[in-house]
Symmetry: C2
């Protein structure tokens, strides 16, 4: 794979100056055009140590306007990063629409290193590579222009590069014992890199292997490739996606199987509430000590009692260790990113709980039904969500997903009650009434959501909420069960 | 001071239930009203260990809707927090407008502990208390409703509380060796607390000392005090501030003393540029190794050459270690906070540099001149800014503030050139032309800014930018000088 990048290509100084001058102007103009566009440009740098990745990133910053560039190099994770799933730091560093992000030693680095060191077997490595591909696919499908460069040096060329750096007192510090150790493992690195490139090369996230023997050649190649990719994208008129075929009527939905007749009388409710709140208080303390984080997702019909259920849950917890995140209209900063970005940013630290009052499932519920997201967007959201949740669970986070279900009639009754009770009136909006008219569409969306995202690792719990008392206890019981399985199982 | 909080006040269970029921409804309604208001409610809890601060915060979360409450308890700082000035974590946790923030072991805790342990002498303690007062004043003047509770227990009452907690197997873990050590230091804590309360009690950030012997009494007192404060504020019509007297004409401004005739010819420029960029590269590496952070502020006339000067600066730096933050319209998340919040959030980690292209000085420049901030807001900004910068410098951050100055005629020349050059046209907006008409007002604002915010710790450098080459070298030299003084001085 790398033979084509060991040809000793060189660019003379004069030619470099000439080509550089034109390229700079073109890049600057494209960067200005990008500022008005609705996608980010994400540029990933990988490659052999000493092949000039850092130098090229610096050059790109010098050629373009650094105000609209985000450059991130990932070293040892901070403790705040370590307490979240590994990709948290990459999500956190994503450039917003209209800007360019340059990434060094980013998401491809840890698996590559682990594979070269033999810490990952082939199967585990392939899984890590599939995660990379899924991450990039998610961003590309959201519109991100992704360009990936692999800076290559042959074994002997790398040795020469290190020797040269070591000779100069100004650059000697850059070559470490670790670099030489890696050089001795050259073949392991190359084998791991080949597999990485093969498995994560995609039409909308292509790798460009660049010969790094001559820095001038490498820099121009990177700059010109980036220029071409940006120009192509900025000049392509957005294609209207073909309308997807309508989904078949699912017939009876999963919701129809929920027994809405389940009730708790007051005395029983008091007993059960006290019992499960006591249990939750205990488990909450254990989770804090063990550093186990929890994410609870509340979805359900308007007026299904999410707020009341959340309060019964939090009443048993220490306010210093949970946070309730109400999900409403995204802020403009959030809108400038992939729709999952706003949820990634709220993930809890170790030992804490975050309760989402509505969540990322808005994409396949309200946004789908109201036509706020195009069909291809909410369709691919199922896979994106499964991948996101898998990362949470793999990290050891307890994930609980609750759908609070009530009948159409009960909802109407509660709406009317709200309209008549002064201190509850604020809860009821015109939009709530409008949503009621779309009940059938929403049922279908809920059905498909459960079908596609209730996985073994992250199952949905459908809660019969016709009776608030029953629902509240059921919610507590579910959260306790999930915590207990993680802490004691 | 605390005698009045050692009277053994108690509330019987039945009375508690009765008063609690009414209070809850009132708090919930006020919380709803607050959601539409344009200020946050910040509630600070201090007090003796074991006096029930945590329990009360939990109760407040149970009484109100936890979705609109931010609860933060500050423990050991994370490494990301340690790399910024101490108040970074508090700014980060501030509730946005319309919400309630509950804070435990927050900004009053570290100085109080340090004083009780004898690590701070009286003078240093007073300085720390002045910082607390300044922080709260800054937030209050921006509209925040601040309510502070001191939960008190007498020496014997605290001992009894610990004993009782220790007896119950369920709460035994809550009493630590540290609690008993602090109990033995009771008098030191009380002395430090008295001074804290006296020095940080202000009309718009008052302390309420609450007897903590009986939790029911304490919780109701806190809840009712908070209710009254919120109600008072929500019912008070905003008073129109009296127009401030116009500032006297400053006569010749500091800008008139800048020698705009300074120039560099091309050859000299090349040499000097190379020399100072080389020096900066070296200092940048040293700063990274030493973990020294740098903040560079660029202000100046439109077309004064900020962008070009920034690029000459960054060209000498490793892109992995700096970030350029262009300051434009605030995002809606930023607008929901104090205007300094958006700058606090961008402060660099250890060893990194952040370059602000325009900055917090917008408040006393464009916002003042264009009438975007009322006079009382931009007037108090001088003090707020000085305090902010003092914290940066105290933390060890290198702070460089640059004003790029050009004459009115040179600006006109550059505007015309921009208008005529296709690839520069995007830089020029109608607003730029409008701003030109206000030159005299801006000069006055710049003069006052320099007068009030050029401090020994954070001086302004006024750069003659009539000649771009001279300005660029001057900028590099200034940044190098500041870095060298910090690293080698």
């Amino acid at each position: 794979m790398f033979e084509a990048a060991e040809l000793g290509r060189k660019v003379a100084k004069a030619e470099f100056r000439r080509r550089e001058a034109g390229l700079r102007l073109e890049l600057l103009e494209l960067q200005q055009a990008l500022r008005g566009a609705d996608f980010p440009v994400l540029v990933l740098f990988g490659g052999v140590d000493g092949a000039g990745k850092g130098e090229i990133v610096n050059l790109l910053n010098a050629w373009m306007d650094p105000r609209w560039i985000v450059t991130e190099a990932f070293g040892e994770p901070s403790d705040e990063e370590r307490e979240r799933p590994p990709y948290w730091r990459y999500w956190r560093a994503l450039a917003p629409r209209g800007r360019i992000g340059l990434y060094l030693s980013a998401w491809t680095s840890p698996p590559l290193l682990a594979r070269a060191y033999g810490e990952l077997d082939v199967a585990a490595y392939d899984e890590a590579l599939e995660r990379i591909a899924a991450f990039e696919r998610t961003l590309a499908e959201d519109g991100a222009l992704i360009v990936k460069f692999w800076l290559h040096l042959g074994r002997e060329a790398q040795k020469r590069r290190f020797r040269r750096l070591e000779k100069d007192p100004l650059t000697r510090w850059r070559v470490t014992e670790r670099d030489w150790r890696h050089w001795r493992m050259y073949d392991d690195f190359v084998a791991a890199a080949e597999r990485l490139i093969r498995r994560t090369d995609a039409p909308d996230a292509p790798w460009h292997v660049v010969e790094g023997t001559d820095l001038r050649h490498a820099a121009l190649t990177v700059g010109e490739t980036l220029r071409d990719a940006m120009r192509r994208r900025l000049e392509t008129p957005p294609t209207a996606p073909s309308p997807p075929p309508p989904a078949p009527d699912p017939g009876p939905t999963v919701l129809s199987r929920i027994d809405l007749g389940r009730r708790l009388d007051k005395a029983r409710y008091r007993r059960e509430l006290a019992r499960w709140q006591g249990r939750l208080a205990e488990l909450g303390r254990e989770a804090a000590v063990a550093g186990v984080s929890t994410v609870v997702v509340f979805e359900g019909w308007d007026a299904a009692g999410k707020g009341g259920a959340i309060r019964r849950l939090t009443a048993a917890l220490d306010a210093r260790r949970y946070r309730v995140v109400p999900v409403a209209v995204p802020t403009d900063e959030e809108r400038a990113h992939h729709y999952l970005w706003r949820f990634w940013r709220h993930l809890p630290r170790a030992g804490r709980m975050v309760i989402f009052d509505r969540s990322w499932y808005g994409r396949v519920l309200v946004e789908r039904v109201e036509g706020l997201a195009p069909p291809e967007a909410w369709r691919r959201a199922y896979g994106e969500i499964n991948d996101f949740e898998e990362q949470l669970v793999e990290h050891g986070t307890v994930l609980v997903k609750l759908w609070l279900h009530i009948s159409d009639e009960e909802q109407l009754r509660r709406f009317r009650e709200r309209a008549e009770t002064p201190h509850k009136r604020w809860k009821l909006t015109d939009e709530d009434w409008r949503n009621r008219e779309r009940r059938a569409d929403y049922e279908r969306a809920v059905h498909e959501m459960v079908q596609r995202t209730s996985t073994t690792a992250a199952p949905w719990t459908l809660v019969a909420a016709e009776d608030k008392r029953h629902a509240r206890v059921e919610v507590l019981r579910t959260v306790c069960g999930a915590l207990a399985r993680r802490l004691e199982g």
